[in-house]
Symmetry: C2
Subunit: 442 residues, 2 copies
């Protein structure tokens, strides 16, 4: 338990950097302790905010109405890795990357790979339904959650799902809890499905003189019946930032988009597939195609993608990072919209991300001392989100709503759907003590 000012601030903020101090921070070590804390808060009608590693981008772990922050950091053990049944049972504070290393050591695979995997926890990934580059082939966190132990605001402990990959007993509360941003229950144990680790990879990058050409390559790849593990796009603004950050040229002059593609599976097929990918890129007029010949060249390609967030810092001091998603055939229209916003608001907006899923990270870059620019951000956000919804897309594909996007929820969901979600919320949390002020507009 902590109540010193520095802890209250530290546990009151996340990667969004718009925090609110907690009134108290507690670190329970058992499910029974989580239950007792919930019961107390519920009886006293005190806000209770579950917290994983605090790496979220939408303020999901921020106690916007004060109250008790319940950090799950002590529930940090891998309880079981069951090779025969391809599953792992973990506590919520296990770091995602640590779980991946542990299972890969015995030839197994936990695919979800959010950029934060070295720091974010499985519990946070479950709360937000984290994605990552491999989601194109392997899906997001939800596809791997088989069962949960969770504490309701009343203190009741429920178990959902179980150790089997199929289970249609009653309602799928497991999938309802995944992505519920800590507003329905506090997850205390997670049963995860694992897969056999793919034995081989092939990796390439290709450059194009337009986003349209890159998207047409993506559609050609799918037509060739290849399902790459990774299918990433980097736009010209982002590429320029990385080039400056690395101090080297990475693409031919005139490049407007780069694709990074990785296939995985048996040695016999990955090279076959990457050649199909190469062909699709050439048909789409790729200007430069490079296939990694060895692990060093593969890492060189990945470095480009992995250092992206750091590289963007060279553009401006503030980054408003939005993870919007559109049907992938509409990505050229999305980029046309972004170009209009760039021109209208004279704003740098580097974009990159998971083109196979239509899930693009759109980064509004402004200097923190440029007050006029900072003030324009909400207007740019609103136009971006309105445009995305008009393109049959969604305002968040990975980061969740938290409090940062709550006001935009009605852009995407009808009043009837929002009211239904609120009734579901009340079925779990009738007194609205669990992570209040999130998801729903005030």
């Amino acid at each position: 338990m902590r109540d010193d000012a520095s802890s209250l601030d530290e546990y009151g903020t996340d990667a969004l950097k718009r925090g609110h101090p907690a009134d108290l921070v507690v670190m329970p070590g058992t499910t029974a302790e989580v239950s007792a804390i919930a019961e107390l808060c519920n009886a006293a009608r005190v806000p209770l905010v579950p917290r994983g590693a605090g790496t979220g981008y939408t303020g999901g772990a921020v106690p916007v109405q004060g109250g008790v922050v319940l950090s799950l950091e002590r529930l940090n053990r891998i309880l079981e890795i069951d090779e025969a049944n391809l599953l792992a049972i973990v506590q919520p504070a296990v770091i995602t990357g640590h779980l991946q290393e542990a299972v890969e050591r015995i030839g197994l695979f936990y695919p979800p790979d959010p950029a934060s995997l070295g720091r974010s926890s499985i519990g946070g990934n479950v709360a937000e339904c984290a994605g990552g580059p491999r989601a194109f082939k392997y899906g997001t966190t939800k596809r791997y959650v088989l069962g949960l132990e969770a504490v309701l605001p009343s203190g009741e402990v429920v178990r959902t799902g179980g150790k089997t990959v199929k289970n249609v007993v009653g309602y799928d509360l497991t999938q309802l809890l995944v992505g519920s941003e800590g507003t329905l229950a506090i997850v205390t144990e997670i049963i995860l499905r694992l897969m056999p680790l793919p034995p081989a990879h092939a990796t390439m990058r290709a450059t194009f003189t337009s986003v349209e050409a890159a998207v047409s390559a993506v559609i050609g790849i799918v037509r060739a019946r290849v399902v790459p593990a990774v299918l990433e796009l980097i736009d010209a603004d982002s590429l320029t930032a990385v080039e400056r950050y690395f101090g080297q040229s990475l693409a031919p002059t005139g490049t407007q988009a780069m694709l990074i593609v990785e296939t995985d599976g048996f040695e016999s097929v990955v090279h076959d597939e990457i050649r199909q990918v190469e062909a699709a890129c050439r048909v789409a007029d790729a200007t430069d195609v490079r296939i990694a010949n060895d692990e060093a060249e593969r890492q060189e390609i990945w470095r480009l993608r992995r250092e992206m967030s750091y590289a963007l810092r060279t553009i401006a001091s503030l980054k408003f990072n939005h993870d919007i998603v559109v049907p992938k055939g509409r990505i050229p229209e999305l980029f046309a919209l972004i170009d209009r916003l760039r021109t209208t608001y004279a704003m740098r907006i580097p974009c990159f991300g998971h083109v196979g899923d239509g899930n693009i990270h759109v980064n509004l870059m402004v200097d923190k001392d440029d007050e006029a620019a900072v003030k324009r951000v909400p207007q740019v956000e609103r136009e971006l989100f309105e445009g995305v919804v008009a393109l049959e897309g969604s305002i968040t594909g990975e980061h969740g709503i938290g409090f940062a996007k709550a006001r935009y929820l009605p852009l995407e969901l009808s009043p009837q759907t929002i009211a239904l979600m609120q009734r579901v919320k009340r079925a779990f949390d009738p007194n609205n003590i669990l992570n209040p002020g999130k998801i729903f507009p005030a």
Copy 2:
């Protein structure tokens, strides 16, 4: 609209064959009509039971409390197949097999393949979260449902999810509705994710002198990092029934289990993988391994599996078909339990199914004229389900609870979890008019 006695009976039963006559059958042709009917029933507190193709095994579409059966049969159109975005938009009464044929004609793939796919509808598949042999690699229906249009009991129309594969805006009502057995809302439109059609297959069968040996082969296959599309097991009782039905011997004397395995993907890898599968089977002491050399031999292997249900009819006139599921490493314990039941109750219990998922169809076969045997069925069911739960399994992996398994729900779920599900039910259907008498014990 129909109210003649024969229609009321016909629409009052399903594949479980334990029906209850409807008071009225309606066949709306639009979402607006569905909405108007729901509003009327809700105002008058009349039970309203949505119905797909009536192929369910647990009475999900049976109006056990009478009332209005709402058949979705007129909402039977494929509205859109979007090749670039790998999705289809369909009305609920589209026959699953018809959708598969339509998308395969343009090189796309809708993987879920319940045995009933020639007759069952997508809407029913969504209501029950149907599975099938390909679920081992591709998952069940839920993995393919991106969005829904659904009518609430109040008549309100809500849209959940959408056209994107990633969407974390609010609660995942889509996944909550999948498998909710028509108790929460009436689904009127479905957005489905498609995949590229795998270009090639390799198929084999292998026999073993024990179920343990077959399961050890399955675990060996996974260790070899192969993810087959299909991984099916047939036990000795089932095999004998097929042999009698076909009038030919299919396996060496002493066979206790047969595996059917199919790999799919690029030509370059499927044969590689099937050789790995073969090796794993030989390590596990397979007595006879046959790899299909051509499509005719492949179809011969599949015929074995496909004719299973018909073959079982040669054993006895009544089949109580249970789709239990256990972690696959515990399948030998499951078969030990089934052997005990066979001996104790002198009952024929042929078993077969999706061993990769641990999902085994356990068929209690009794002659309908043998009253004593028919009377013993509930006791055998209870012991089977108790045993499955003790093996960390689930009492249904594919068919749902309906009313046939409702009394067994407390074997698997705690009172707290059941109460929570009932609160969720009330959030959708406060007057309990939608498919009452299902899932929850009376």
